[in-house]
Symmetry: C2
Subunit: 352 residues, 2 copies
């Protein structure tokens, strides 16, 4: 094993803020720490927990920002991409038949096929879809990969620009340079020297301060400081996600359920290793959080608690969304054994 690099050495030793408690019966069983930033369109911090200047890999949570590229480069209009495609470009989808079919049709529209996707294959997140594949004796394809819509977007831009498509996932391909420029501008950071690693779907991922990621989401929500072209692109991404939240995640999953219930007032996007982002057009805010330990279960409940605190989820929504926002843990016999919920002091008792 190689010795720690400079980047690791510079990682802060301090523990994050207590965000999420997992209870079992009367006791606290596990606890998740992390950092979260709520930022307005000008970049002003409205609320913060933990170290929000720490650079984190946003992973899939910035896909809605990456989707801007598909519109701005002209590919969306040239290939007549609609809400379904733009929602899929912003998605970590469940690999349900509707997701896979839409991505496959989209690839056909740009003269490509599933074999051109370089994201790798994995079984659908949707249990029913995964089971159906198994029962049919079929293997998952790259179209089932939760990132296949983002990749179809990158391929659309490359086709529209007349670039080679093979190797589009490489750091040196214009498809990657494009989103790095756009995301850097949205987040207000120079990404040229950002710590770089490889994402699950093999494109690069760049470490960005949490506050800056939240700022990017706030700009997406408010279009503050954006030129006319990017403002239009931002509105188009927001509208597509609002119209087809089922394409951004999947049936019954946290982001889709919350976005459907709030009818376009909230854009939600998670990323691997406990990252979650929200864009709130009505409140003019962006949110980004990272769970220190990378747990998805905590990132969902934490972003829900922040939405509640900010008033983005009203009393009725908060009650209706309890099963995904404050999940009850059940065991193999269906007995309620515990809860996942905001840590002490995060929410008023009435808000819990």
């Amino acid at each position: 094993m190689s010795p720690p690099s400079d980047a690791e050495e510079s990682a802060p030793p301090e523990a994050g803020a207590v965000l999420i408690d997992v209870t079992r019966g009367p006791a606290l069983e596990s606890r998740h720490r992390g950092a979260a930033a709520v930022v307005d369109g000008r970049g002003k911090i409205v609320a913060a927990w933990g170290d929000v200047e720490r650079a984190v890999f946003p992973r899939s949570a910035i896909k809605p920002l990456q989707a801007l590229v598909v519109i701005e480069c002209g590919a969306a209009d040239a290939f007549k991409l609609g809400d379904v495609e733009l929602a899929l470009a912003s998605a970590s989808h469940s690999g349900e038949p509707k997701h896979v079919d839409a991505v496959t049709a989209w690839l056909g529209r740009i003269g490509l096929g599933i074999a051109d996707l370089e994201c790798g294959a994995h079984a659908p997140y949707a249990a029913a879809a995964a089971e159906a594949l198994m029962r049919a004796g079929r293997k998952p394809t790259p179209a089932h990969n939760n990132c296949s819509g983002k990749h179809a977007g990158m391929l659309s831009a490359a086709r529209h620009k007349g670039e080679p498509v093979g190797g589009y996932i490489s750091f040196d391909h214009p498809a990657q340079a494009r989103w790095m420029k756009t995301v850097g501008e949205m987040c207000g950071v120079e990404l040229g020297r950002a710590p770089r690693a490889t994402d699950g779907c093999s494109i690069p991922t760049l470490a960005i301060p949490l506050r800056a990621i939240a700022h990017g989401m706030a700009r997406l929500a408010t279009q503050q400081g954006l030129d006319a072209e990017r403002s239009a692109a931002a509105k188009r991404v927001l509208a597509a996600v609002a119209k087809r939240p089922d394409m951004v995640s999947g049936t019954g999953r946290f982001a889709t359920v919350v976005m459907e219930a709030t009818q376009g007032r909230i854009l939600l996007k998670g990323g691997a290793e406990g990252v979650y982002c929200a864009a709130l057009p009505g409140l003019g805010l962006g949110v980004a959080l990272k769970i220190d330990d990378g747990a998805a279960r905590a990132s969902e409940v934490a972003i829900a608690a922040i939405l509640r605190r900010l008033g983005a989820l009203d009393d009725a929504s908060w009650r209706a969304l309890a099963p995904v926002c404050r999940p009850t843990l059940t065991n193999w016999n269906g007995i309620e054994v515990g809860q996942i919920r905001a840590g002490p002091g995060w929410l008023d008792e009435s808000a819990q």
Copy 2:
């Protein structure tokens, strides 16, 4: 949502010790904190990280201590239970055909069947076994439940004692009272007033200080302070696990792989929510750890690092076991993207 109870309020607000780092490329992506205790047969702390007096739910990690009951009550001899059954009584097995077949045969031997198991059903942990069930259009049964061996052990004791078997998972059934007495004695704690909750398999789980759990494991390893009958039972559990580590976990899984490689010198048992225990007869030590956030990935790498520190894994084993003790993370294309490894300062650079 009900207000926090006293037990929750008393949970320590302090963050645990940094135990495990998850890297991606050159950077730290996620970090796991927790507590760990290494204790000798007299209960003396040999090494500790974090708050080892904190009571944690040991979950499945104390199954080898619960298995003592099956022997001591006379059921093991009466029903001629061998290494396979005693290893299964100590197991969180993968639901492979060999596990399910052995549990089913065992139940038959005590005049019962799968329908008498009250642990609930879940798909086998072993992907191949789960897939085979699906392809065959079959549903998992309680025999596939990872705890089915522990339950068969409890049923064996109840049958041997002539107790009713229905409802054996209830706190008030003698099957539960038996293990609570034995585990309390092994750990040197009075469990009568311990915080109690319901485990995944529906039996009670009791919160025990981490140091005391480690002491229980040390007593299992050393038989120090145990009477002749319990000493014999401890030796029999150790021997069964050493002989059939494949029955305690499953093919390719961390505990089985490490126990097979170390040929009976290490007993390893994990539990849900990031608990891990080890009994080390050669060194005369017991180990117990809990990852604050409940992550299994961290608990495995942390117990491995402790085994390395203690010298329980020699240079050759440490090198050979790298794939499970210091796992490389790969993405959907099989590209190496990061590592899970001991946090800074935990191990000498040479030991890493």
